[in-house]
Amino acid sequence: MALSKVKGYNILLTIGAKSIVGTTSDTLSGGGVLKESIQKSDAGQTQYTNTGFEGTMSVSSFVGNGTAASGELGVKELMIAARDNATGAFIYTMGSDSGDPKITGTCTYTSITVNSNSEDYADCTIELSITSLPTFTTV
C-alpha cells in the first residue's frame, strides 16, 4: 500500500463524541512507561519492562461566545470540564477513509488556558491526560 501524507486538518479529535469548536491545532503525545531493574543474575545488563502508558493531548482553538452546536464543545463546556477534571472517551482519527488509523481511549481534562491580546481573536489551549491504555485500530 502506498503511503500518502496526512493533511493536518484531517486529524480530528472527539471527546465524548463531541469536537472542540474552532480547533486550530492539536497534539497527541505519549508512550510506554519503562521500569528499570537489575539484579545479579542479569550479569550487569539493566532490564527494562513496559509497565503502562502515559500520554497527553493538547488542543488549541479560537474562543467563541454563544451556544455550541450539538456535537461541539464550546469554551464554556471546556472550562466546566477542566474545573471538574471531567473524563470522557476520546477518538483520535487520522483520516476518514476506511483503513485510516484511529486511536481510542479515555482522557481527563487537566486544564484550560485562555489567551487574549489587544489585536487578535482570543484563543485557548486545553490540556488533557490520557488515562487509559489507548487502543489502536482503523477507521
Partner: protein, 120 residues
C-alpha cells in the same frame, strides 16, 4: 471586498487610489495597499487578517498629517461594521512614519493598520 470598503472610508477624507502602477493625482491624496492572511481552524476559513498600508501625500506637512488623522478616524470607525459586504471585526492602527520625497517635493505619511474581517 475590503478594497472597496477601504476606498469608501478613505475617499471621505481625500482622494484615494489603490497602490497599483503610476498615479497622477491631485494632492492631497492617499494610496493604500493590503496583504491578506487567512485565518483557519480545522473546519476551514474562519476569517481574514489584513496588513493594511496607507500613505498620505501632500507638499504641506500639516495638510499631510491632518488628512492622516482623518483617515485614522475613518478606518477605526470600520470596526464592528459591514461596509461593501465586508464585515469588520477588529481594526487596529499600528504605526505611522513621516518622510520627505526630495524628488517630488512631497511629504509622505506612511501608516500601518491591522484589520481582521469575517469575510473578504
Amino acid at each position: 471586498m475590503i478594497l472597496e470598503a477601504l476606498n469608501s472610508a478613505i475617499s471621505g477624507v481625500c482622494n484615494t487610489y489603490p497602490m497599483v502602477g503610476d498615479i497622477e493625482a491631485t494632492m492631497p491624496f492617499a494610496v493604500y495597499n493590503v496583504m491578506q492572511n487567512v485565518l483557519r481552524d480545522k473546519s476551514g476559513i474562519v476569517g481574514y487578517q489584513y496588513d493594511v498600508s496607507i500613505s498620505v501625500v501632500d507638499p504641506d506637512i500639516d495638510t499631510c498629517m491632518t488628512k492622516s488623522s482623518g483617515i485614522k478616524v475613518a478606518i477605526d470607525a470600520l470596526e464592528d461594521t459591514t461596509v461593501q459586504d465586508t464585515t469588520f471585526d477588529i481594526v487596529h492602527f499600528i504605526s505611522e512614519a513621516q518622510r520627505y520625497d526630495a524628488v517630488a517635493f512631497n511629504y509622505i505619511n506612511d501608516m500601518e493598520f491591522s484589520i481582521t474581517t469575517q469575510n473578504i
